[in-house]
């Protein structure tokens, strides 16, 4: 499909020196002209990335105007610090807990929604709403829910004999609270994707299974799940990448507290860079996170291709 056009511009020119074989310059240049604006924007966006890498090798700080290269000092400092390892741990805990819960429950709910009746039709629309709420607003909404004075959840828990559940204010429950909010916002994302996946599955293999007599679980395990994998993979890629670098929810909820409980890499980098004004020192944290995300995403994308092949039966 997409191949045939380039042939006008690409290969044909080199094979013959005849004047009839030269492709007019305006035809040749067309793709690049069309692409030019996005190229410019892309380069404009890439520039700060490059700058970030360079500055991570300096002692740049907002306090002083001058700076000089200090090699890998910032990186060495970071790896030797406890706060880094703590941040890495928080980052992974948060990412795994939120992505995991969203994936499993999201798939489950998508399966529940995959029947046609009036209430599933209504719910399919309504359940999108949390996803549309800005994460920071979601934090606000959940503060209204969890607040011990006005929150309804306190009243609900009182019924079960639980009083003053600490939510975000205790180190024990802060991560849980943050993950609940993340789950609340992003579970619909997985639901929407998983349901689209379920809808796109061919119907006839399931009819064949009916005649073949597989139980619901047997059919789900051997056919549905493998066929759904590519889409679940996409959901995981998107969710994992985003939750690894989650800043908004944690910042909005506790700014990383209580204490350093929720200090993940993003928050730590923010604190070092903006709160403590140590710009050069903050960059390794976020570059490390970026590298991590980059490697994982490359892996996942590669796997995704393999999974997609397997699911469609190659």
């Amino acid at each position: 499909m997409t191949e045939s056009k380039d042939e006008q511009s690409g290969e044909s020119s080199k094979n013959s020196s005849s004047k009839y074989m030269k492709i007019p310059i305006e035809v040749k240049a067309r793709p690049y002209l069309i692409l030019a604006p996005s190229l410019i924007v892309t380069i404009g966006i890439l520039y700060p990335f490059v700058l970030a890498i360079i500055y991570s090798l300096t002692n740049y700080s907002f306090r002083s105007q001058t700076y000089h290269f200090i090699g890998l000092q910032n990186w060495v400092d970071m790896f030797s610090k406890r706060e880094f390892w703590h941040a890495a741990l928080v980052t992974s805990e948060y990412a795994l807990a939120s992505t995991g819960s969203e994936l499993i429950l999201g798939l489950g709910i998508a399966l529940l929604l995959n029947r046609d009746s009036w209430y599933t039709r209504v719910l399919r629309v309504l359940l999108i709403f949390p996803l549309m709420v800005a994460p920071v607003i979601a934090v606000l909404i959940w503060q209204l829910m969890t607040n011990n004075a006005v929150g309804i959840l306190e009243k609900l828990l009182n019924l079960f004999g639980l009083f003053n559940f600490p939510w975000a204010s205790s180190a024990k429950t802060a991560l849980f609270t943050a993950v609940v909010i993340d789950f609340w916002v992003y579970c619909p994302f997985v639901i929407i994707l998983a349901r689209a996946g379920l809808q796109s599955l061919p119907k006839s293999p399931f009819e064949a299974a009916k005649i073949d007599g597989g139980s619901a679980w047997f059919t789900f395990k051997t056919i549905t799940l493998p066929m759904l994998k590519p889409i679940l993979y996409i959901a995981v890629i998107f969710r994992l990448m985003a939750s690894l670098q989650e800043f908004t929810i944690i910042y909005g909820l506790t700014k990383g507290g209580p204490g350093n409980t929720l200090m993940n890499l993003s928050i730590t980098a923010y604190n070092t860079g903006f709160a403590f004004m140590r710009f050069g020192k903050s960059l390794p944290y976020i570059l490390f996170l970026w590298l991590l995300i980059y490697i994982i995403s490359q892996r996942l994308v590669k796997n995704w291709l393999a999974v997609q092949k397997a699911a469609s039966g190659y």
Partner: protein
């Protein structure tokens, strides 16, 4: 009989599970609305039965600069989407139709903006913006918002362009239409539904963005997402104000979401899933 019975149990438990999740997903929004209509006096004493009042709305909308923030958010988000459309439509076309060197790397670079940690961009940009006087300006925010809106538009639209069969374009060329005419008369109308929905979704993402505007603006220009945080931070917490701020920030998106339902899957997955 036994089979029927167990099927009945299954059906009931399915509905029950669904109801629990629905309550979890939707009740916070309802609660937000309820609180937004509660007076401070009734805030702590009542749950569902109270005397609704508009006083919170009045205080927030008239008493503070919240409306101005709403407008700021609108300008920045709409601006970002417009820039992305102008840049992204031709870009998506080129990525869909031409097979040039480095096509896939370019496409993936653009996609990787979506996954890049925002703080990573913000730290260097903060300094650049100070130097270029883009800090706390509409233009500065619109520029950095391209990280949010551009990958989405390019990737989604690329899919829509690829859906149009090459033969349609070729047919038009054979009929004597030049490249630009083909683009304008044939391709643009065909991708329009996709363009509108992707644009709206990009708007929602831009509208919801928090970190960029928190760190690259904040005095003259402040988005709703940033502005609403102050209702938490203030010493005497007005829960009613908080609810109003949240409700007003959320309303436009929910309306937009209803409009683009059909295209949502495709947009959310950046074109990977054709819902």
């Amino acid at each position: 009989m036994k089979a029927q019975y167990s099927r009945g149990v299954l059906g009931v438990s399915r509905s029950l599970l669904l109801a629990i999740y629905s309550l979890f997903a939707l009740f916070p929004l309802i609660w937000m609305i309820i609180i937004s209509f509660k007076s401070d006096a009734e805030m702590f004493t009542t749950t569902f039965i109270f005397h609704p009042t508009l006083s919170n709305y009045y205080s927030v909308l008239v008493g503070t600069d919240y409306l101005k923030r709403f407008l700021d958010n609108l300008i920045v988000s709409v601006g970002a989407v417009i820039v992305s459309v102008i840049v992204g439509v031709p870009g998506a076309y080129a990525l869909a139709r031409y097979n040039f060197k480095g096509r896939e790397s370019l496409a993936f670079t653009i996609l990787s903006f979506k996954f890049a940690p925002e703080i990573l961009v913000i730290l260097p940009l903060f300094m650049i913006y100070q130097k270029l006087h883009l800090y706390d300006t509409y233009l500065g925010l619109i520029w950095v918002y391209q990280l949010i809106t551009l990958p989405l538009l390019i990737w989604v639209l690329r899919g829509y362009f690829e859906d149009i069969s090459l033969e349609i374009e070729q047919a038009a060329q054979l009929e004597g239409y030049g490249w630009f005419h083909v683009f304008q008369k044939i391709l643009l109308p065909l991708i329009m539904p996709g363009l509108v929905s992707a644009g709206l979704l990009a708007f929602i993402f831009a509208w919801n963005s928090f970190t960029f505007s928190l760190l690259l603006s904040g005095f003259k220009i402040q988005t709703v997402t940033v502005a609403s945080l102050r209702y938490v931070a203030s010493d005497t917490v007005h829960y009613g104000y908080m609810a109003v701020a949240a409700a007003i920030a959320t309303l436009p998106e929910i309306i937009l979401a209803l409009l683009i339902q059909k295209h949502l899957v495709r947009g959310l997955s950046f074109g990977a899933v054709k819902g």
